[in-house]
Symmetry: C2
Subunit: 195 residues, 2 copies
DNA sequence: AATATAAATGAATGTTCATTCACTTATAAA
DNA sequence: TTTATAAGTGAATGAACATTCATTTATATT
């Protein structure tokens, strides 16, 4: 018996995400992917049932990692400002470390493919965030509001800023990381909207 | 001489955007589009040089309309709160009226296709927004900040909320419009972040 | 009414696509 | 060392793709 080559699967996954980010979903054909990963097209089908299965696996993996990183050191018991700032930092860390994975994730979520994927937001993650919001309201740190308003106010500016920087990267061929001081400064302004 | 059928071109454009929103860029093939618009594939090539040209025309058209609607009644001379609220209302009006066009626009902007398009943000629009920011700072209505921070704070929450509602629409098959009171309430919170 | 012209077409064209298959190769277990 | 098994392959398959082309059709101009 011969074992699957973990390195090979990793390469297939990474090249697929890179190709999708650079050339779009149509730009990632199975044959082009095979060539980029130095394998036979048939090899991809050992690891993934088909193209759709591959894409869903990629999405699942990124979502799992992203959720994990976002919640690193987090607890709903943290006070509002500390907890939200921690999450901003965690998220930015992931985006800086894995820009292709993040951009693939965004592209997938914003495409109709997401409708054919039976993927759910990690339970743990959702529960944590809900509890965090409830606690903050109960402590009187923020006023009561609908979850979608909370989410829009708390993360809308963050993701908008990230988008700016990732677009610059695409245009100039290199990645301008968001400076921590700029992020903190904007965070302080966002916090005001909850007061 | 036979004239071009304006109605026919409009139908091609609208069906193309609808297909892209519903099935993604790969889901919109020239032959499927022809069938949806009740024309021959060759007819599409009378109106557009090729597929890429069609997509770029669609993008240009939506951008032009969107910019126009967004600036309706706007002037950089307006005070900060009035001007920003006007733009929020204008933008939401466009999104509610033309959800497919808006979603196509977003999908295009978030895809690598945008890199191959030589389209620029309408000059007039850019200049207006820049002047608006400058004026608000000079009047002491908001503190001085980089344009990308301003943009992220002023529009990040708005677009995040829009995304929420458009996703709900996709899932349930119908469109839940954002209530004006909910929008105004969030707007008031956003304003605080500039104080 | 005749004519010139551009719109509009359906049936091709050659290409690329996702996927399969008969086959070879590497290696864990015996 | 042998053997069973699953990894890995290159070439093939049929479907779908963007685009073209030889014709036909509608109409504005004469």
């Amino acid at each position: 018996m011969r074992n699957k080559d973990e390195h090979k699967e990793r390469l297939i996954r990474d090249k697929a995400m890179e190709m999708i980010v650079k050339e779009g979903f149509d730009g990632m054909s199975m044959q082009k992917l095979a060539k980029a990963a130095n394998v036979s097209p048939a090899t991809i089908y050992i690891y993934f049932k088909n193209r759709e299965d591959l894409l869903n696996h990629l999405y699942n993996e990124v979502q799992a990692t992203f959720s994990e990183v976002a919640l690193k050191g987090f607890s709903p018991a943290l006070n509002f400002e500390t907890g939200l700032w921690l999450q901003w930092q965690n998220r930015l860390r992931f985006i800086n470390a894995f820009p292709y994975q993040y951009q693939f994730y965004e592209q997938f979520r914003n495409s109709p493919l997401i409708n054919h994927s039976d993927v759910q937001l990690i339970m743990d993650f959702k529960a944590n965030m809900k509890q965090f919001l409830t606690n903050a309201v109960e402590r009187g740190e923020i006023k009561k509001m609908e979850p979608e308003i909370f989410w829009s106010l708390a993360y809308g500016p963050f993701y908008a800023l990230v988008k700016f920087h990732l677009q610059e990267k695409t245009m100039l061929g290199r990645h301008f990381k968001i400076s921590p001081s700029k992020l903190k400064s904007m965070f302080n302004q966002v916090i005001k909207s909850f007061q």
